[in-house]
Symmetry: C2
Subunit: 139 residues, 2 copies
DNA sequence: AGTGTAAATGAGAAGAGTTTTCATTTATAT
DNA sequence: ATATAAATGAAAACTCTTCTCATTTACACT
């Protein structure tokens, strides 16, 4: 029951918020742009404005329910937070997104930040490339 | 003499291109937005349009003379390519940018891409945090 | 040096993605 | 039920960047 998650975040339980959560939970694609969410809502018969979708996603991000990927050149993409941090591989040809966790990289980042005297708050790591399927298609 | 670099890249040797190169070479700040370059040109007395600055920087990027950082939420930032690849640390408080190279991370990225069947074309890694100076100021 | 032609430029319009504004509606505490 | 603060929708605004198109420029070839 996600009404509780909303209340915990200090957010009123509204239809747009519940529906956006529902989309994020039930969608086949884990990573969705605001536009994707907006269209999924329309297909579901919910006429929720795009501005509201942006607002709600941003609030969810603030509440730690959702994380935002800022992909080079493109739209922001959102995904439900499900506990653990991970980074991403992106196919530049078909936009497929894969996830990975690498403790070696995570640790090196901490060391580098410490060496430079930085108090690390976060990091963003994207590996761009051509996925297996797209390599096949290209021959 | 950088006219040669331009010619090698198949670009005509024009005043805007020479001046943008000059700015990038002589500036104190290694990392500059298009706007920064534009303003530096104005201060130098060169009335070169912002659209031209964007065009020239994008062409320089294509020619491998310049690389572009896509920083979360903000403007793109450009820097002269000087041989080796490096990644960046960014202070979220004062926008200071520091550079680092870490072969362990570079290698792990190759391994991860290979494991996922990706042909890696590039990567982007930013460590966000608070720099030493800003930590002092904040107490 | 002069000429032709393709490329480059400047100014402003357009574009994409996202945020803001503001009048109206809604959730929720009383 | 009522009051009130918060949320919403629609459109406008915003920011950064690219495009359009008329004019200018670089440079290959006389
Ligand atoms: Mn993910
Ligand atoms: Mn750099
Ligand atoms: Zn692909
Ligand atoms: Zn700082």
């Amino acid at each position: 029951m996600e009404s509780q998650d909303l209340r915990k975040a200090g957010l009123k339980v509204t239809l747009p918020r519940l529906k956006v959560l529902e989309i994020l939970e039930q969608t086949a694609q884990r990573h969705m742009s605001a536009e994707d969410v907006y269209k999924a809502l329309l297909e579901m018969g919910e006429e929720i404005g795009l501005a509201t979708v942006y607002r709600v996603l941003t609030q969810f991000e603030g509440a730690g329910l959702v994380s935002r990927l800022s992909i080079e050149g493109g739209h922001a993409v959102f995904e439900l937070v499900d506990g653990s941090h991970h980074d991403h591989l992106l196919c530049v040809s078909c936009n497929r997104i894969e996830e990975f966790v690498d403790e070696v990289i995570e640790e090196r980042q901490r060391v580098i930040a410490a060496e430079k005297g930085f108090e690390m708050t976060e990091h963003s790591l994207y590996i761009y490339g051509i996925c297996k399927e797209c390599q096949k298609k290209a021959g």
